[in-house]
Amino acid sequence: MPDLVTVTIDEQKVTVPKGSLVIEAATQIGIDVPRFCYHPKLSAVGMCRMCLGEVGMPKMNPDRTPALNEDGTPQIAMMPKPQTLCTTQAAEGMVVLSETPAVVKMRQAVLEFLLANHPLDCPICDKGGECMLQDQTMAYAQGHSRVQDLYHLRRDLDKDYLLSEFITLDRERCIQCARCTRFLDEVAQDPVLELVARGSRTMIDTMSDPPVDSKYSGNTIDICPVGALTSRAFRFRSRVWEVKNVPTVSMIDGSGTNIFVSQRNETLIRVIPRDNEAINECWISDRDRFGLEYIDNDARLTYPLVRRDGKLEPATWDEALQLVTDKIKAAKEQRGANSIGAVGGPKLTNEGALSMARLFGDVVGTPNVDAGWTPTITTPGKPPATFYEELEGADVILVLGANPNEELCSLDLRLKKAAFQRKAHLINCNPYKTPLDRLARQSLIYNEGSEVALLNGLAKLVHQSWTAEPAQTEALRNNVEGRAGATAWIDSLGPYSSNRAAELAGISEPDLRAAATAIAGSERLFLLVGEDVSPAVLSTLQNLAALKGRSDYLVVLHPEPNAVGVRRAGLAPREGGLDGQGMLDATFKGNLKVLYIAANNPLHWAADYDLAQRALQTAEFVVVQTLFENELTEHADVVLPAASFMEQDGTTTNFHGKVQNLKQVFRPRERRDDDGNTLSACAPDWIIFTKLAQLLGKDFGYTRVGDWTQQFKALPALTPNEVRFTPVTYEASPAVAPEGTFQLLTGNLLYDGGESFPYCDRLNRVVPEPFVYINRADARKLGIENLALVEVKSARGAVQVRAKLGREVKAGTVWMPRRLRAVQVNRIIEVDKPYTAVTLTKLQDAPPKETLPADMHAVGVGEGTPVDMNISTAVVP
């Protein structure tokens, strides 16, 4: 329990923890202290002077006893100068006056000063209606201006200074509160905005290249107290009071970011954060903010397509669903249910996934059900319910094989907060450098594939500290002794001396030792691991977690939105069934005839592009349920138009298992005739699956999404991890990279130009051209300079990309984003080998391409014949 102090604010007493700011204490008892520069998530600076108040402290007698008035109340000595309440810490007995005539005059003065050079272009200002300056002027300013006759002296500054693809700056409106610069410095840890010049010429500017290069830059728009920083996507599009802010959850990444989607006339106007201290605080990433524009794109599918004579043609829902039903029935009768495969995707809602699993698992009866094309690991236990609170309270955090900056934005900010503000000891282990290394106390850049050796080495050192440090012995002994597999596990660690482990992992032995010391001494260890590591690595981590008694603090990071939820809903192979990879194989071999793909794309996500393509060509019947026509729908026999998460109610699960409600923002996109009559519309996945089940003879009886939600919630709850130890041995990769080749590493990129990017105007512009990171020393040997065009060639194929030189990768390795627009690494990766060896060849230089190839924009479907709409948006008839 922290020390408490009691302060009196405007004659109300309030008790707060020692060290709290007076402005926080005032807010607690409902006293509104006006402010501009103060923001609860940022450091207090006391710049705007709006929150000035009168502060007094109890007087002390010379003998250090409180001086009392005659009536026994303490005498208060008021400070000679007013104090900013946003920087004054509450102290016992403090008296604060925030509404005296003097204070009122001070506020008037600050507002008068701020307005002296403010353009007052509120009628055309995006911030109008939610502007702090506007509100506080109404509340506290004098009714008249004393500077009218100096109007001609107002500063004439940039009105549309483009800071980045997302943000534009109106310098006349800026009140120099430094909220934006502090956010980027302290929270995002991307110091890309800076105050420049001084005095009344002070303004903000960016020095970074590309400008304002932060994945969180959009938050500066929200925290700007005036309309200085505005969104280029939202600019001049609407007044804020004309939009309806619908609370929902972003299904862009696995964070489960809480957002408001502002809509007007069924059009997406903007996306703003929704405070949730348990998930995203008040921040969202730029991808959440600018990545939902696809909803309104004309290329959205609004009616089913059916292949007739080799060509996809518009069809009615009845026709399409009947066709799918017939084909499934036929395949089942002729070859059994095993000839049918269904693969969902992490973009399905919990309800969509559950209805899909029930449809194919129970109604169709096939064991071949999965949620993706590559095997992934899942969190072995139940992550702590207060995940971020625990994470911020952790003293040592080990991150392995993940790059939150490109994968999980909310987590990235929390890790930054933990490392920067809470001084957690962050150990970042990755085969290549990531932005997290800037904050990590230790970054262990290991050899790809040597995770087991590294972790066994760590575990051995931690276990050895058992005898070295008597204080920890007891705790460790309790964690290990009598546990399943403990003895065998300890024996198995024998060969992993720190020297050998460090050598195998390619890191320095002192680094390994330092990491082990930190882990051994930690009380609140947290382990985070990327979803792409092998199950063996996960077991090794489980051992380490169990050794420290932190089994439930090992969490797998899933970059995709509902990765946890779809698996929990049952999108996983049943007994004897094939997984995604196996289904592609079986389809190619002719064993699987019908392939049903919902919210997924094997050409993007499968490990082997060629296999996916051949399988799709071989399959007898392919159903694709999707938002847009794309590469995949070219192989489809039936295309069903699905609704996005913004067009349906439901729930989604984020990477640490938190289930949150989605709320419908828009009616499912529709096609209308000239008179405005709805002809057809896309439909939420759960409706499509429920309807298909009906047609296949099984009526679930569910007419509302809530029915499915109930079913989802009735699934068995996650149980805490069972503590046991599994010996894992490191098997060194026998393959040695041939001379002159490089080991190809891959990873995720946030702006990967993926499926919805072409339909998001702003976001699409920041997608980089395909590139490969090459170690500077390697590049020098090969004569490759920065941004040169190179050919990356493996035994399977070659791609042409730009070289980016740096120290992100170790010598002997190169790194490519796994999915980046046209260049798919799964075209060259060798799936059956431990790793892919590539050669680099410099090509004749061509200037870097700036724009998106025209063919990336999907061409909209032609007018076609009007079709009947037989599937409603919310209720199954």
């Binding site: 600076v45 000063f113 120099q176 001084r198 005095g199």
Partner: protein, 434 residues
């Protein structure tokens, strides 16, 4: 007694030719105090001697130096001593003369200060525009290093001392100690929140003491001759001497080192040769442009912090600016406000926007196109700045406005229709010496 024959502390040898060279300085007892301290005294002895001398900060705050040094937490390392050589107050030029003519006395005092607080790496922050001073200091530091006064194991005492010179980018605000520290760290020169005070978290978040050039230059004398010798001059509350920078309409402008408590009239008439052309005085600043103006009836005030405060102003840096009876107070204020507007760092609203606005109104008065009530408007604006700004720059800017309107409101009324006469020349700084 003529000024030249009076006893002095810092200025004792300042006019000896080539005293800026280390040989000449050593020939005049230079670095004896430093040798004495290293061989005979501990750091605490030096600190106690300074404490006993009652030396107070000559940068304007008059805070006891010994006390400031004793606030530094003992067990924290490293800690820093920073010399504030960013003298930029209009009307104040005493540090400038010390640095240019007599750099070694500053260096010696600085070394003693480092020794007293146990600092192994000190910084001298030199004002951006003061390149001559920087060059002189650099030469002097190189000489001192060559003689072993700075470096590892100074004079075999086991005490390591490194001194770094740093040049700012030219900003008045960097004379404010926290802004100076920000600038020294490479950030924008803007004041920081206090608390934490520099003695707790200063340079690089370590305990730091920031001291003025003149303060440190007094230390060699205190250590060499003892605290009692220092206390023979000055008042009980502010012992020692103060270099008074006299400028404006006087016959002999310049720096005069006089015992604290000498009357202003004596300095003006005996040392500075009286007002130019034998005219009367309209107004004067006792302590640089940031201090409230005083009228000639206060000329007999003793120049010590307490008496000047009692007279309604502040002693500050003792930059005595004299304005004769023909001076136009509005023009003086206008000129000063343009300075403060230019130097406002822009961090807080009142100073950033308020100074801009004050200048706009003074501009129109200067052009003889004022409005009725402008004086009241100025007073109200200045009141809204004073005491509300982040640091004292805002107060400094409001002061000339408030004090000039208080004393000479009729001048402002006059300028509502009459423009300022441009021919009046107001020198605010003098050349070097006498």
């Amino acid at each position: 007694m003529a000024y030249e024959d009076e006893p002095k502390i810092i200025h004792q040898h300042i006019n000896v030719p080539d005293i800026k060279k280390i040989d000449v300085y050593e020939a005049h007892d230079g670095y004896q105090a430093w040798r004495k301290a290293l061989s005979e005294m501990s750091g605490d002895d030096v600190l106690n001697e300074v404490k006993a001398s009652g030396l107070a900060g000559r940068g304007g705050a008059w805070f006891p130096t010994g006390m400031k040094w004793s606030f530094m937490p003992k067990p924290v390392f490293p800690k820093y001593l920073v010399c504030n050589c960013d003298e930029s107050e209009p009307g104040t030029f005493s540090n400038r003369e010390i640095v240019i003519k007599h750099p070694h006395i500053l260096l010696e005092g600085f070394m003693l200060g480092c020794y007293a607080i146990g600092c192994n790496h000190g910084y001298i922050y030199v004002r951006g525009e003061f390149m001559q001073g920087y060059a002189t200091l650099r030469r002097a530091l190189a000489e001192a290093r060559a003689r072993g006064y700075v470096g590892k194991n100074v004079l075999g005492s086991g005490f390591d001392l490194e001194i770094t010179l740093h040049v700012g980018a030219g900003a008045y605000i960097c004379g404010e100690e926290t802004a100076l520290l920000s600038s020294l760290e490479g950030d924008r020169g803007q004041p920081r929140l206090k608390p934490p005070f520099p003695a707790v978290e200063g340079l690089y978040a370590k305990p730091t003491s920031v001291n003025n050039v003149e303060t440190l230059s007094n230390v060699p004398f205190i250590i060499g001759q003892g605290a009692a010798a220092f206390r023979q001059w000055g008042t009980e509350k502010a012992p020692g001497m103060k270099i008074v920078s006299v400028s404006g309409h006087v016959n002999k402008p310049g720096n005069y080192e006089v015992p604290v408590g000498t009357s202003i009239r004596k300095i003006l008439e005996e040392y500075a040769g009286g007002v130019l052309g034998g005219k009367g005085i309209k107004v004067f600043f006792p302590g640089g442009s940031s201090t409230p103006m005083l009228t000639p009836d206060k000329l007999d005030t003793p120049l010590d912090p307490q008496s000047i405060t009692a007279a309604g102003s502040i002693l500050g840096t003792a930059g005595l600016c004299i304005f004769d009876e023909d001076v136009d107070v509005v023009k003086v204020t206008h000129r000063l406000l343009r300075f403060y507007k230019h130097e406002s760092c822009g961090k807080c609203t009142p100073c950033r926007e308020g100074n801009d606005w004050l200048v706009a109104i003074l501009n129109r008065l200067a052009q003889g196109r004022g409005k009725d009530g402008d004086a009241d408007l100025l007073v109200d604006m200045a009141t809204n700045i004073a005491g509300r700004s982040f640091c004292l720059l805002g107060d400094a800017a409001a002061t000339p406005v408030l004090s000039s309107i208080k004393n000479f409101r009729e001048d402002y009324e006059k300028h509502i229709t009459n423009p300022i006469e441009e021919k009046v020349f107001i020198p605010l700084t003098s050349g070097n010496g006498h």
